[in-house]
Structure formats: C-alpha cells, structure tokens
C-alpha cells in the first residue's frame, strides 16, 4: 500500500464516517427512509472494503462487517429499527470516530470498538451470542489468498494429475468412493491457467440424486458456472456414475458446490499452483508461451434469457435510489484538471498575443474594444476557476504526518504531541505534492534531532512529551507554514564550528556572523553531507535539500531557534505555480518578469531626489524608503555578473553611482524576501501581465536568479526573475549588506565625529515621541523578533554574534512610553560606545535624515538626553548614548552587555 493510497484511505474514511452519522441521524428522524438506510449500509460496506484493502486493520474490518450485517438485517426486515437498535448503531459510529481518531494518531484503536461490537452483536434476533459466528465468518483475518489455500488443501488429498507429453491425466482422489480419470490436452489446461480458471472434478451417482433432481436445471447451472473439460460415464458395481472434469472462475470448492447444488463430498479440485509449476518445469519442445484459446465469453444474454428472470436478477435491496444526497460536488480526474490547466494557460497566452495584435485595430473596428474586453474577462475567469479546481487543503498532505510522527517517536523512544493548525488552508496541487517531502524531512528532524528523550525533558522542567506544532496560514497572498518544536534548539556556535570544519565558511567570516546567520548555515549544500554533523544538536541533516525543494516551487524558508526552547522553521509558499501575475521590466534591452507576489512596491527616483534617497552603507548602495534602508542591486549588473557594490570609500551619503551615469529617473522595484526588502534597479518598468510559467530548460537550471520562463504576448521568451536567487546570486544578500554596513560604521568611528551637518536616525516607540541618534554614533542596526529576546535576571538579552547583547529599554531610563506590546518586530540600535556593546530597543525607525539643526540643551533637561529640537514639526529628543549607558551603570551596578559566551550566561 503506497503512501497516497493510505492517505486517501484516511481522508475517505472520515468522509464515510461522517456520511454514516448523517445518515443515521436522518434515519432517526424518519425511520422509514429506505434511501438513508441504504446509504448507511453502503458506508459500512465501503469502509469494510477500504480497510481490508489497506490491510492490517482486521479489527476495523470486522467491526464494519458487523455494522453492515446489522444494517442488512434491518434492510431485509429481519430486525426492526427500534430505539435500542438505533442507539446501538449511533454508539457504533461514535466508537468508529473515536477509534479512527486514535488510528490517525498512530495509536491502538481496538479498545474503542470492542465494547460496542458486543452490543451490536447482541442485536441479532436469530442467534444467541455465539450464534453470530455463523454469519460473521472470520472475514477480517481471511488473507486474500484464503480461497486458493483452501483449494490447495483439498487438492492435496485429491492426489492429482500427471503429465503425459502434450496431454495431462487427472485422477479423482484415492479416497473418493468412485474412481476414474480424464485425459485432457495440455493446451486446454494451459488455457484454463491463463484465464485463471480452477479445475474441478465431481461425480454424480444417478441413483443418489434427490427426487426433485432437475436435469435441465443442472445443465443450465453447468453452462453458467463451468466449462466442461471432460466427461466419463461408467458403471461402478452396477451403478451408473457420471464423472465430470470442468473449469470455472469460481475459486472456492464450497462455492462451486453451492453453484452446482452438489453435495460437497462429491466435488474435488486440483492445485492450480502445482499444475502451473508442473507445466512450467516441463515445457513443450516449442516452449512457446501458452497460446490461449481466448475464452469466448459465453453468450450470457442467451443464458440469462433461458433462466427465470428472478434467478437472473437477484432480489436487489439496493434499487436505484433517487439520490437524495443530490451531490453538489463531483470528483474529477486530476489529469483532466491538469490538462484543463494547460489549456487555460495556452488560452491566456493566446489572449495576450491577440490583445497585442489587435491594439491598433481596436479604434478602427467598431465594437472590437468591448469584445476584446469581454474575451479578456472570460479568459481571466476561466483561469481563476481552473486554478481553484486545483486547490486542495493542506490537510491532504498533513494528514499522514500524525501517524508518521508517532511511529518515529515510538522507534526513537520519545513522546510527541503533534498539533496541526490550518489544515484547511488551500494550496495548488503541484505545490502540495512538492511539499510532501520537505515537510516529512522537517518533521523527522524535529522528532529525531529536535526533541529530547522524555527523561532529559523532565530534567529540564519540560513536560515529558515534546510538542511539535505545524501551523499554516495565509499572509500577503502566500501560504505560511511554520513547523516548531519545543526541543533542545540548535546551538549556533556548534553549527559554525561544523561549518568551519567542513570548510563552508572561514573563521574571520564566522566571527562576524549574527545568531540567525549562523543558524542559516545549515541550509548550505554540503553542510549536511559532512559526516560529523549527525551529532549536532538540532537539525542539519538534509536541510539543503529542503531548501532546494522549497525554493524550486518559489518558496522561501527561515529558521529560528533558541537553545533549550526549540526550533521553528518557517516556509513561505506561493499559492500556485501555473499562472502568475508578473510585473514586466526591462534591463539590457531584454524583458524580464518579476512575480507580483515578490513585488512590495515600485519606486521612481528622480534625479533631484537621488542624492537624498540613495546612500551607501558600508560599500553597499542603499535606498532610503520610509522607515527602512533598502539594499539595492542593479538587474543589469546581476545579469552581467558584476558585483553591484563599488569599491569606493566615499564619505556618506553618496549617490549609488556617479551622477553622470545616472539616468533621469531610476526605477526601483522593491522586492520582498520574507521579512526583508531590497530594491532592484531596472531600466524600465513595463506592464503587469498574467504569465504562464514554463520550467527552466535543463541547460540553465543552474542560474539561480531565474525561476522559470514564459512566452510573451509577442511570442518572445522572457525569463522570470527569482527574488531569492537574485539576492543570493548578485553577491549582495542581506548578510553581506549588514557586514558592509558594519565595516563602514567602524571606519566612520575612526573619522571625525563632529560634522557640520549630521546624519540622524530618527526612531520612536510611541507615535508621539521621537528620538534621534547621530548616524555616526550608531554602529549597527538590527531587526529582531520580540520572541528572540531572553530575559535573564530582569534584564533583556539578545543572542548575538555568538554571545549575548544586553538590550536597553529607553522607558527604563527616561520618562518615555514603552513600545507597543504587540510589536511584531523590534529594532535594536547598537551605539558606538567605548565599553561593551549594548542595544537600544525601538519599535520603529522613522527616518534617516540629514540636518544641521541646532539642538537646544535647555528644552529637555534629563540625564541621557542632549537636548531637543523640532524637526518637520516633530519634537525630537537627541539621545546621548554614552550618558544613557552611564545611567545604567548607576542603576544596576554596571552594565554587562559584553560579548560573553552563551554557555556562561546565567540560567533562566
């Protein structure tokens, strides 16, 4: 049983149980409703068949069988649908539900079924207790091959056959009261084997036939159920014996006896396995594969017409119901939808080409504009609806995980609670499929490496059962899936250690890395293949594969981890892959597509604004945009594979490039990359277009900055740009950006502090308060998630560059408001100080600006504040970092913000 089938079983079974319950409830209201009765019966029947198909669910099969029997008795009027019966049936559905839930969770389920099973069996009016066994044959445990097994044992007694060249002689078994044999052409036996027919022999003693023996009826039965191979009439002790050798598709001798209405002891069969083996071991000289005399299907319609209609048509309890469950949904073959999807894609391409072609004619031909508009709309609609059809709830993929996780946990001697939120979130089928493996991997890692054994957990004051949460939700047109555990977390320093050992990163670079940077090393290809890595606490195994898989479907992922608190891996996925709206841009005379989902905004910077908006942090060009500084990359440079950053040590601020090479207007597409944003400089912004994604050809699959190709309206090919790939491949990813910023800041530190005009960072916590620090005073600026902070002895720390950074709340030192408690991200301003670094917390960076404003020291006379000034109508407090830290000294007897190994940090 493969995975999909098992998954299908789980989803279908919950549907079946629901249908069963709904049917029973309807039946309770209206006990005479035959249709409902049939549909409940069918539900039990289907459940039985499905469970048996899956295998290993004997108790469930048996239970469904008993339910089916009870319902069958009701259908045939052998059992009245009394309140007692109804409540037993309802209880049985409840038991099924509970049991199934347990089964899903990979736990034992039988105990939920057993008590109810007994009460169901007691309903049978025709039998007392054990009498049930009559109808409840051990179906559940009967292996599929049971029939052949039974046949074999019978045939073993029969003594059999022997091969004589191209003929085979069959004997009646030695213990049979009559004896005789049949000689049959080998080809006929081979044909029987080929058409999967069993060979039977039986004898009829004329004078032992019952009085009402109907010769004609017997012949008809023979014709219906068997095909004669041979017949012999002989006289035994003066009695006339009729011997038959026949083949039939019926497998069980018992069934054959029933079909022919013969006493069982007059019927014998032969082991088809033995026959097969015997024929295979002595092939005929020609040794050609058995040429089947294709068994001409008998003219059944003739046979049937010979029979009384009642015999041909079994009294059917399931007369076509009027389908009260008028279905408002149908199941459609996935292939069909995929094909439809492709066609919709072609239609979109066609429409685009047509629109372009007709652009000039629109004004000349009357009514064309409206028509084009209409076709446009319909096409878009078709595309949308088709896309919807392919959407499937994430639950389809997630549903098999509870079991997998439980089984894995059991193997590893761990306890796990798995919680799934957002199983109803819908995703395109193709994405769902691609998600299955990475998710499996993440969960395996969480159980295997993330969670501690129960004893370790107890020792750390954690509940013995580890907790894994899968949470899915929609956000910004993407689907987010977070897989978190509350295990031991990942030690970033050990990750770095391993990365250095594996040669993935050098020591100098590693020293500069922040906590998240270190963690993200585990996504590097080659990290996981390093032999030594398996003992790294936390993840690491195969994470590069996970990343590759997720990026391949246009997703991105991040990892967060706090030692001893657990690890969270966040996936961000597109809703669909097939048709996506894209922004078309131009660079180097080529057209490129940028998926709309990656575009945060578009900015045109005029020449007059360039000086103010384009700066350099370190060597990296950045753009000031609202409260953020965005790193910039130039698409043309990326394509030419030139490093974006100049090597100049110009004083800040400077334009990103020398003024004469700048165009009138600089077009910047601001791209979204998880929480980050960066600007992509393009030559020209074109339209947005719905494009049909075609995969990259094999030859250029190595180019990470392309995620696919498409065919444009004019028939030309355009590459689809990948936000992730470009950031990584342009040599200006965020790590780089931060590193440069750091380096530049260090240089600036050495240069003169006093400037005529000062660049300021304006930030605040409450909307009506503003603080300023000179940009030159700020060594670094970090964006953090509030959860990343650790509170140790009443102080806040941030795991930072292998140590911990003391964080300072301005409201602790100054009479100002705290940041909003629901802030999703916080900024940490790390001032340039003589002592160990600390960070100021702020909820918002309002702006960076240059000013020569005079600070009035008298406007705000509080220690730690240089003074206040009004900037753009806002009262701004100019902070004095050194003095603020001095205050801290006073309050707490020294500040300990230094870079100190985490291992030595006081325990929480």
């Amino acid at each position: 049983m493969n995975r999909e089938l098992l998954q299908l079983f789980f989803t279908e079974t919950s549907e079946i149980i629901e249908a069963m319950e709904a049917g029973l409830l309807a039946l309770e209201k209206n006990p005479g409703d035959r249709d409902q009765l049939h549909s409940v019966f069918r539900a039990a029947h289907t459940l039985k068949g499905n469970a048996a198909t899956v295998g290993g669910l004997d108790r469930l099969v048996e239970f469904a069988h008993i339910q089916e029997n009870v319902l069958d008795m009701i259908r045939h009027g052998r059992l009245a649908l009394t309140d007692e019966v109804m409540s037993a049936l309802l209880a049985s559905v409840d038991a099924l539900k509970a049991g199934f839930k347990r089964l899903l969770a990979g736990q034992t389920y039988q105990e939920f079924l057993e008590p109810v099973k007994a009460s169901l069996m007691n309903l049978d009016p025709e039998t007392e207790g054990g009498g049930w066994e009559r109808s409840s044959r051990p179906v559940a445990s009967a292996p599929p091959a049971a029939s052949t097994e039974a046949g074999r044992s019978l045939a073993a007694e029969s003594g059999g056959f022997n091969l004589q060249g191209d003929r085979i002689r069959f004997f009646l078994p030695g213990h049979a009261p009559v004896q005789g044999s049949f000689e049959v052409p080998r080809a006929q036996v081979e044909s029987a084997l080929f058409t999967d027919r069993r060979i039977f022999a039986f004898w009829i003693l004329e004078d032992r036939l019952p009085a009402d023996w109907d010769r004609l009826a017997f012949r008809q039965r023979m014709e219906t159920y068997a095909l004669p191979l041979g017949r012999a009439r002989q006289a035994v002790q003066g009695r006339s014996v009729d011997l038959w050798l026949v083949t039939s598709v019926l497998e069980l001798p018992g069934l054959m006896a029933l079909a022919l209405e013969l006493p069982g002891d007059q019927l014998f069969t032969y082991s088809m396995e033995d026959l097969r083996a015997a024929l295979a071991s002595s092939p005929l000289i020609e040794a050609s594969p058995p040429v089947p005399e294709p068994y001409e299907p008998r003219k059944h319609h003739l046979t049937r017409s010979d029979l009384p209609p009642s015999a041909a048509v079994p009294s059917d309890p399931l007369k076509p119901a009027e389908t009260p469950e008028a279905l408002d949904s149908i199941r459609v073959n996935v292939d069909l939808i995929d094909r439809l999807m492709n066609l919709a894609g072609e239609l979109v391409l066609g429409r685009n080409q047509l629109t372009r072609l007709l652009k000039d004619s629109v004004e000349q031909v009357k009514g064309l504009a409206g028509l084009v508009q209409h076709v446009n709309q319909v096409t878009t609609n078709i595309q949308d609806r088709t896309m919807q059809m392919r959407m499937q709830p994430l639950g389809n993929v997630l549903s098999r995980f509870p079991r997998m996780v439980m089984e894995l946990a059991r193997t590893l001697g761990k306890e796990v609670e798995l919680k799934i939120e957002g199983a109803e979130v819908e995703l395109d089928r193709s994405i769902l499929q691609a998600l299955s493996d990475p998710m499996t991997h993440l969960l395996r890692n969480a159980v295997d490496h993330g969670l501690e054994p129960p004893t370790d957990r107890t020792a750390r004051n954690k509940p013995p059962a580890g907790r894994i949460v899968i949470k899915a939700f929609h956000d910004e047109g993407r689907v987010n899936i977070a897989v978190s555990d509350d295990g031991r977390g990942i030690d970033p320093d050990r990750v770095v250690e391993k990365a250095i050992k594996s040669g993935l990163v050098d020591l100098a670079r590693a020293r500069q890395m922040s906590h998240p940077e270190k963690l993200s090393l585990i996504f590097l290809p080659g990290f996981s293949t390093a032999e030594a890595i398996t003992d790294v606490s936390g993840r690491g195994v195969g994470m590069d594969v996970v990343r590759t898989n997720i990026e391949r479907i246009g997703g991105s992922l991040e990892i967060e981890s706090l030692p001893d608190q657990g690890t969270t891996v966040r996936l961000r996925l597109p809703l669909t892959l097939a048709i996506i709206p894209c922004l078309m841009v131009r660079a180097l005379g080529q057209t490129f597509a940028v998926p709309q989902r990656d575009v945060a905004e578009m900015v045109a910077v005029g020449r007059d604004e360039m000086a103010r908006k384009l700066l350099k942090v370190g060597d990296a060009p950045v753009m000031r945009r609202r409260d953020r500084l965005l790193p910039l990359i130039r698409l043309a440079d990326t394509l030419r594979r030139k490093p974006t950053a100049g090597s100049g040590g110009r004083p800040r601020p400077v334009p990103a490039d020398s003024a004469d090479s700048l165009p009138e207007t600089l077009f910047v597409v601001v791209l979204r990359l998880g929480p980050h944003r960066y600007g992509l400089i393009v030559d020209e912004l074109l339209d947005t277009e719905e494009i049909v994604v075609k995969p990259l050809s094999e030859h250029i699959q190595g180019c990470r900055f392309f995620s696919g190709t498409t065919i444009l309206g004019d028939g030309r090919v355009a590459m689809i740009l990948s936000a992730v790939g470009m950031a990584a491949d342009a040599g200006l990813d965020f790590k780089e950006f931060e590193a440069r910023e750091r380096k530049k800041a260090e240089q600036a530190k050495k240069s003169a502090r006093t400037e005529e005009t000062r660049a300021l960072v304006l930030f605040n916590n409450a909307t009506d308060e503003f603080f300023a620090l000179a940009l030159s005073e700020v060594a670094r600026l970090e964006v953090i998630a509030p959860q990343a902070m650790e509170k140790i002895g009443g102080r806040l720390y941030l795991p930072y560059r292998g140590g911990s950074l003391r964080l300072i709340r301005l409201e602790d030192l100054l009479p100002v408001s705290p940041p909003p408690s629901d802030a999703r991200e916080l900024f940490v301003l790390i001032p340039r100080t003589a002592g160990p670094p600390v960070g100021f917390l702020a909820s918002r960076i309002v702006d960076t600006l240059e000013t020569n404003v005079r600070v009035d020291p008298d406007r705000f006379t509080t220690p730690g504040v240089r003074g206040a000034a009004v900037l753009d109508g806002r009262l701004v407090l100019f902070l004095d970092a050194e003095r603020l830290l001095g205050l801290l000294d006073h309050q707490n007897g020294g500040y300990h913000g230094g870079l100190k190994p985490l291992a030595h940090a006081p325990a929480a």
Partner: protein
C-alpha cells in the same frame, strides 16, 4: 489493439479502490483508465466511449454492479466486453448472481495486484501481458 488505446473502466464508489486499481494498471502500462463512482455514471461513460474492460464493484449507490452488468450485457455494443466484478468476502450469492449475469470473472476484495493481473491478463493486449510477466507475476 495496442495498450495505447486499450481502455479500462473502473466503477467503484470508493476512490481508494479506484486508485488502487489505477495504480495496479499503471504498473503494467495501461494509461487509459476511466473511472465512475456508480453504475449510472458508468453507463453514461460506456454510451459515449469504447471501453475494453470493465472492473466494477457490486455495492454502489444509484445503480449497483449487478444492474450495471445487466445493462452492459443487454447493450449490443458491450455484449462481450469483459466484465470483472469486485465483491466483498462472503458474498457467495452475489458471486453466483454475477456469474449468472455474465461476468467474466470476479475478484474478492481486498485483493493484491497479482490477483487482478491473473484475472484480467487474458483480456489485455499482448504488450500489457508481457508487462505482467516482466513484473514477475
């Protein structure tokens, strides 16, 4: 006839069973598999398309397998179309009724691939038969 145009119709109200059959058939390179949820839907498909083999469940809503069988055997276009009935264990009377109705063979659920192969092999184009042999059945 090659496997390219050999079409199988699977009729079962359980998607699980249909999928199972589909998988088993795909393994021997039979890609043309139509599916119906009940007899009614099957008759609609058969009326529209040529079907070379029918594998049908017994118990289904609207039109059950036996009724479908009757319909198939009274329809001039499908008098001899191979028809395999799927039944649950113990449904002896149904097996006999199905044989009377003219099924070519029957399969007791649950079944393994080799059982299905054995039962349908004779109806398949040679290349699919070889495929079964190649799989070692």
């Amino acid at each position: 006839m090659s496997s390219r145009d050999f079409t199988v119709l699977t009729v079962d109200d359980s998607k699980l069973i249909r999928q199972n059959v589909r998988k088993i058939l795909l393994d021997i390179h039979i890609p043309d598999i139509l599916e119906a949820e009940d007899g009614q839907e099957a008759t609609e498909i058969i009326s529209r398309r040529r079907v070379d083999l029918i594998i049908s469940d017994w118990t289904m809503p609207r039109m059950n397998g036996q009724e479908l069988l009757e319909w198939v055997r009274s329809n001039p276009g499908t008098l001899t179309t191979p028809f395999i009935m799927l039944t649950a264990e113990g449904d002896q009377q149904r097996v006999l009724a199905a044989l009377k109705g003219g099924v070519n063979n029957y399969i007791v659920k649950p079944f393994k691939p080799d059982i299905l192969y054995r039962k349908i092999r004779q109806f398949l184009p040679p290349e699919n038969q070889h495929q079964i042999t190649a799989l070692g059945y």
